[in-house]
């Protein structure tokens, strides 16, 4: 029951975001659209950002990495999804502080990158610390790349360039793991 109220609130917000920026939307108009009370809204969420957060979490759960060999696929799917919902994404993005968006993007990218890094580390004598460091570095790289892509209005050319990105990350990881293992062996 509560989950369906939460989803109902989220869908209504998604509807409103087709035409308005997040900071122009009020809780009162959102609850009117849902046909629920303000109390019911606040039972579930502290504010509208909470709804966005919940939406992102739902999305992340759906996009969860199952197979690290296939890491490109969820990456591609996310970018395509963001692009399909361009108006909505920009209406949220423009109301948010950049640091929040970065945080969300890192939260999305971290498990993907970690899975990819672990795949590359297989068979090499590298430490957990080193895997963590590489994951962090590449997560930041991926998150900022996506962020500037959103800022530029999400041109399709970036999605087409994912092949190159994949090669870059793969090569970079393979080389680094090899050098780290050598260093650890000494």
């Amino acid at each position: 029951m509560p989950k369906s109220t939460k989803n109902q609130i989220m869908s209504a917000l998604v509807g409103l975001l087709q035409t308005k920026r997040l900071d122009d939307i009020t809780v009162t108009e959102l609850v009117e659209r849902c046909g629920i009370s303000r109390q019911a809204f606040y039972y579930h969420f502290s504010d509208l950002y909470g709804v966005v957060d919940y939406g992102i979490q739902q999305l992340l759960d759906e996009l969860g990495v199952t197979d690290p060999e296939q890491w490109r696929e969820p990456l591609e799917r996310t970018l395509a999804l963001l692009r399909e919902n361009r108006t909505l994404v920009l209406n949220v993005y423009r109301a948010y502080e950049r640091s929040y968006v970065e945080h969300d993007l890192r939260r999305w990218a971290a498990p993907l990158v970690e899975a990819r890094t672990r795949l590359a580390a297989r068979g090499y004598a590298v430490t957990e610390d080193q895997i963590g460091f590489m994951t962090e570095l590449l997560t930041q790289g991926l998150a900022s790349t996506v962020l500037s892509w959103v800022e530029r209005g999400m041109p399709s050319s970036v999605i087409e360039r994912l092949d190159d990105f994949d090669i870059l990350v793969g090569g970079c990881l393979d080389y680094t793991m090899e050098r780290l293992a050598q260093k650890n062996g000494k």
Binding site: S37, R38, Q39, A40, F41, Y42, Y43, H44, F45, S46, D47
Partner: protein
């Protein structure tokens, strides 16, 4: 936020991070941080800080054990929220905003607001003031939301639910915690409506702390509150403890239960049950049906005075007796000086026990209520007595309440059975007279001793 508040926030968070990392090693060093903040000014309490440093550096000390238990017994996120909302917002940050407002508006600005979400209760206890309001009044979600929003503008981050049984409005309370996630909410409750689901919601919102009413052991609690209530209370405490949710207790002492409710055995039980604080309230003969014979005798009240002070030095429990601890807060804290009470009809009362008002929150802003004649009479009259063992304008100084009600034309907000100020105060005249000699003796002794200590310390400082 002002520059100073940003600095406080950053400093406080750094301190918390430091404590959180290694509480055992860092609790004793807490006073280094406090000393740095306090400086060496005339109002920096150097002797008190030195005394507190002595106790906190000893791991066997009750205060050390109480603070330490915040790490062993309380959920990490709930503890962090408590430090942030209660300590930082409610005190460090809130205080600055309150002081500015006091200066600007020339009236009392509270530290906490007590409010009744509802007059309804699922129990029917003898002598409860909630019963006097009848069972049908409610503050709506939007009204409470507005009170909190107005309160925050004046620097108030602490909200305490009274009633009625506030938990009758469970979903609203959770929604308010969620909406005002920067505030700390406390709730007087009979605890019978605390179940697993509600406790899970408490864990989700993290800023709700119950103060559970107990009358003593099983027989006493069930005697006043009804059969089986004590077992329900114990069950609620277990549910809270299992989720590492902090709670305290609220105990009303009367001439009939004082001995057992203030016994060491009972206090040890509170600690075992998991309570972190115990608030004691003197029975007040409020209402046309009150039983003045339940007011403690001077000997009993003195016994309470001694016992609570002894527990504060020995038990890992934050114990306060609101009638005998006026010396720590400069006497009466009602009338908005540190708190006020809004009933389920919207009447803004100066105190949970004093139901005379000239303001209703449905008609005026919170600030205008604080500037109305009745609250200004409190503002101008406080402290009502230089002896803080006689803090109350009703119980120990009944002529003061008569005078304020007369002067301001405040009316009784008791909707069930309005009681005249004369009728109420007449019940206190004899009590006040009887308590006076004991109060004077305890005050001059307790007070001049503290004075001697200060003089000695001052002399030492001069000599050194």
């Amino acid at each position: 936020m002002s520059m100073m508040n940003s600095v406080k926030r950053a400093g406080f968070r750094a301190m918390y991070g430091y404590l959180d990392k290694d509480p055992d090693a860092n609790i004793p060093r807490l006073m280094d941080w406090v000393d740095r903040f306090a400086g060496n000014g005339p109002n920096s309490f150097p002797d008190q800080r030195a005394a507190f440093r002595k106790v906190i550096e000893n791991p066997d000390n009750n205060w050390f054990r109480l603070i330490r238990s915040m790490w062993t017994d309380v959920d990490d996120e709930v503890r962090k929220t408590f430090f942030e909302n209660f300590m930082l917002n409610g005190n460090l940050i809130g205080w600055t905003i309150q002081e500015e407002a006091r200066e600007r508006y020339g009236c009392n600005i509270p530290w906490a607001i007590l409010l009744d979400p509802t007059s309804a209760c699922n129990l029917h206890c003898t002598g409860c003031w909630a019963a006097e309001y009848g069972n049908k009044l409610n503050l709506t979600f939007d009204e409470i939301d507005s009170i909190i929003t107005q309160g925050k503008e004046l620097g108030v981050y602490i909200y305490i639910y009274t009633g009625g049984e506030p938990m009758v409005r469970k979903d609203d309370l959770i929604a308010l915690c969620n909406k005002h996630s920067d505030c700390e909410f406390l709730c007087f409750t009979n605890a019978t409506l605390i179940d697993e689901d509600f406790a899970d919601q408490m864990l989700r919102v993290k800023n709700f702390v119950p103060a559970i009413s107990v009358e003593g052991f099983e027989e006493a609690t069930d005697g006043r509150r009804g059969d089986g209530v004590f077992q329900k209370v114990r069950r609620a405490m277990d549910i809270l403890k299992a989720r590492k949710l902090p709670f305290g207790t609220s105990c009303c002492y009367t001439s009939a239960n004082l001995d057992s409710i203030s016994s060491e055995e009972f206090v040890d039980n509170l600690v075992d049950w998991g309570a972190k604080f115990a608030w004691y309230f003197h029975y007040m003969p409020v209402g046309n049906d009150a039983a003045p014979e339940l007011m403690p005798s001077p000997e009993q009240r003195e016994q309470m005075y001694d016992r609570i002070r002894a527990y504060r030095q020995t038990k890992p429990l934050f114990v306060i007796d609101f009638q005998n601890d006026g010396e720590y807060v400069g006497g009466c804290i009602a009338g908005g000086r540190r708190y006020l009470h809004i009933n389920a009809n919207g009447d803004v009362d100066p105190c949970v026990f004093i139901h005379y008002s000239d303001s209703n929150i449905r008609e005026k802003s919170l600030l205008d209520c604080l500037r109305a004649p009745m609250f200004m009479a409190y503002h101008d009259g406080q402290p009502f007595n230089e002896n803080h063992l006689k803090p109350c304008p009703m119980l120990e100084n009944p002529e003061k309440l008569r005078e304020m009600v007369e002067k301001t034309g405040a009316r009784s907000t008791d909707l069930q059975s309005p009681e005249s100020a004369e009728h109420l105060c007449a019940k206190c005249d004899g009590y006040a007279q009887a308590w006076d000699p004991t109060a004077q003796r305890l005050w001059s002794c307790g007070h001049s001793c503290a004075q001697c200590g200060q003089e000695e310390a001052a002399a030492q400082r001069q000599a050194g």
